[in-house]
């Protein structure tokens, strides 16, 4: 999923899936993140960053 916005106070990021769905994601395991970053998200938590080259 791609990061759209980061809520640093709450430690969450608003992310978008490839098809436009928006999800609020826990980012403690991958921070710091910035808008545009691609993350692997599992059950609401980001587990790792994806390569710049990889699809979101």
């Amino acid at each position: 999923m791609r990061v759209l916005a980061v809520d640093e106070a709450r430690g969450l990021a608003l992310c978008a899936g490839e098809d436009g769905a928006h999800l609020s994601v826990e980012i403690a395991l991958v921070e710091p993140v910035a808008p545009g970053d691609a993350l692997l998200v599992h059950a609401g938590t980001a587990l790792t960053r994806l390569d710049a080259a990889a699809p979101a």
Binding site: L29, H42, A43, G44, L47, L50, D51
Partner: protein
Amino acid sequence: MRFVDEFRDPGLGRVVAGEILGAVEPGRHYKVMEVCGGHTHSIYKYGVDDLLPANVELVHGPGCPVCVIPMGRVDDGIALAHEPGVIFTCFGDMMRVPGSEGSLLEAKAAGADVRMVYSPLDALRIARANPDRPVVFFAIGFETTAPSTALTIMRARAEGLQNFSVMCNHVTIVPPLRALLESPDLRLDGFIGPGHVATVVGARPFRFIPADYGRPVVIAGFEPLDILQSIHMILRQLADGRCEVENQYKRVVPDEGNAKALEVLAEVFELRPHFEWRGLGFISHSGLKISEAYADLDAERRFSVPGVRVADPKACQCGEVLKGVIKPWECKVFGTACTPERPIGTCMVSSEGACAAYYNFGRFAREREVV
């Protein structure tokens, strides 16, 4: 359907299927185990089996977190759900797992407040929205989801939430694999390694498989092409006489895993001396419990649970299915006494269970080439 991304591309699939045919030794039969229930689901959902020669047999492994929960723990969950005022939250699949007197879905029908959530964060939201009711989250999963639970527990502590607790049924992947490899029942040629567990623990924990047992492991992604490529890589290792851990899912899995996740796990959880696995018996140091530091968020300490060990029904052969010793359809009650709507065991309930996957997706006569 949706735009087909390259890892679902049928043309590329046929190419790799061709490479697999080229890597197979004529007349030899290969047994490759996919450890992770997510892989089992993907294999059946995309019909990956259809693209393999009959010489390559996929054996389903124990990596299904719902499937390995023994009946006694389900009963404990139901007991918690019936505690006065409790809002009991769990993942959807857990709701239909049979305990000794029915499932959580049936407990809900009898009046317990049981709610399905998609992540532990959803359970935390429910706790915030209902401050005067105890909220319990029934946590399941391997190392992929345990960090998520750990972070949620840390959040609850940071926010000073008094009404939230977790019943922890998290398990780790290495002990059951070792138990499988030690078992004389099974002769496997290689392993398709769990891609999402590996994002947390990295590739290193799987080195014992080639080192101590001489079997190749390829850590694989979950798209159908990932799975085919990983099978090809295993066959190539066998053909070349190599035996090592390879990472097919490099675009996602860092070889060293996620240090922060491991840190968080170490802070919130500790290993139980042993934990009972459905069908596999007691395995030492395979289950997680909440550490002393977070004891107030441990549902098993806040409430008292029966903690009774319940034997599986005699007819249930989930254990043999989970070990890959028998195929789902070889279980004596498969499809007759045990169906998705009336399950006897867990393998038929979970979307990652081998029996559910075969019943729901694979239950038709297929013809495959023999090389």
